[in-house]
């Protein structure tokens, strides 16, 4: 997977002989090496979680949040170069406002994600460097249910039932797939979990996949949107996140003890 494209990787306006645009792939690598972000959806709502490393104790609590709402019903969880993510979020905010002014009703998460994807894609054509950020857009409403969309540096936009990006995405996806196992009892399956259970699962997954030896001062930031929040996108209160993290740590220690 790792390769360099000497000579063909200087600009996004150049294809390599084997048909790749290296600058876009390098931008994807920026996302791949940032803190893990997971998004989980059930019929009750969507929960996203970000693993952040707090580089200094001088920071205020939750400085540089990775979770922000775009409008009351849609939220964004970002991975990759933080300043790129902020700029993309600004654009998304603008698109949502434009749509609201034009149509007198809030934009749907699908249209928002697709509009941002179109924007991100323009930067893969070689005019500018590509964006080094991936953004999850999540929402829930009574009729349409839960939605997760991911916009990647390449400009691709897909809808997911659950996904992970960042450092430990492979391990995280493996954990998520366990929640969709065929032999799992219905109450424990991903699609049936209540929002509070999703929070605990998200924390558990992040805690399980983290590398304690290499990463210090990790902190989890989460968002939720669903029936419990009445369709409004909110950052999860720190107390709930802490509880979930503590629970997850305990479960991990118990597992270790059993081994």
């Amino acid at each position: 997977m790792s390769s360099i494209g000497t000579g063909y990787d200087l600009a996004a306006s150049t294809f390599s002989p084997d048909g790749r645009i290296f600058q876009v792939e390098y931008a994807q690598k920026a996302v791949d090496s940032s803190g893990t972000v997971i998004a989980l959806r059930s019929k009750h709502g969507v929960v996203t979680a970000v693993e952040k490393s707090v580089s200094s104790p001088l920071y205020e609590a939750n400085a540089n949040p990775r979770v922000e709402k775009v409008n009351e019903y849609i939220g964004c969880t970002s991975a990759g170069i933080y300043s790129d993510c902020c700029a993309l979020l600004d654009y998304a905010d603008g698109e949502a406002l434009k749509y609201l002014k034009e149509n007198r009703e809030p934009i749907s998460v699908k249209k928002l994600a697709e509009s941002l994807a179109e924007f991100v894609h323009i930067f893969t054509l070689g005019i500018h460097r590509p964006w080094g950020g991936s953004l999850f857009f999540s929402s829930w409403d009574k009729t349409k249910g839960s939605k997760i969309y991911l916009v990647e540096p390449s400009g691709l936009c897909y809808e997911y039932e659950a996904w992970a990006v960042g450092k430990h995405r492979q391990a995280a996806k493996t954990e998520i797939e366990k929640l969709k196992a065929h032999d799992l009892e219905p109450a424990k399956r991903l699609e049936n979990l209540e929002l509070n259970q999703l929070i605990n699962e998200a924390a558990r997954i992040l805690v399980t996949v983290r590398d304690e030896s290499k990463e210090k001062n990790l902190c989890i930031e989460m968002s939720w949107v669903g029936d419990v929040t009445d369709g409004k996108f909110e950052p999860v209160p720190t107390s709930l996140v802490k509880e979930a993290e503590v629970l997850a740590q305990k479960m991990l220690e118990e597992e270790d003890a059993e081994d």
Binding site: E102, N103, R104, E105, K111
Partner: protein
Amino acid sequence: MDEVLTGTTLIACEYDGGVVVGTDSRTSGGSFIASRVTDKITPVTEHMSILRSGSAADTQAITDIAKYYIETYTVMEGEPVSIYRACNIMRKFLFNYRDQLSASIIVTGYDEKLKGQIYAIPLGGYSTRQHFTASGSGSTFVNGYLDSQWKPDMTFEQVKQLVLSAVYLATFRDGSSGGVIRLAIIDKDGTRRELYRPDANFPQIVADPPAYSPLPPHLKGQAN
């Protein structure tokens, strides 16, 4: 605003499951009836029609433009445009060009989200959703009739009779409205059209009184 709405009667009414709309069919230029069989119900999609009153040229042009936008959005987004959004598209044009246009329209249709909907957009470009509405020069004669006859939770048959009789009564009194009565019923299955002709199935609701002799009473017998 002292503009005259040129000859038309447009009536629209919601029922549980869709909307019923009715119009007359007269286009007049002064006292000349340019067309006695006009269709003022312009279909935009299978589930949406726009009723036009005011300048025929203006309303046709705007409706064409709005239809183009609606079709483009439908293709680009892969899903039908809601009636509410279509109303806002019309309203944008009617408001921004209000000084150059003379158009009063009613956007009607059915979509899954809000079921049957009627949005009236009178002169000036203000839009409002209503359970029933009347527009055009003939509407002034039947506003009272509609207000007194409409009740919540009317059945489809009741609503159809209401719209039909309202259009008939308006054309009975308004010189600028007449011809045939066109009905359109929009529900989840699409749009159904009905035609009511004066020589065939016009509603019989006015007991048209015979005229008194124009001669003074002492000369009554000498007419003919």
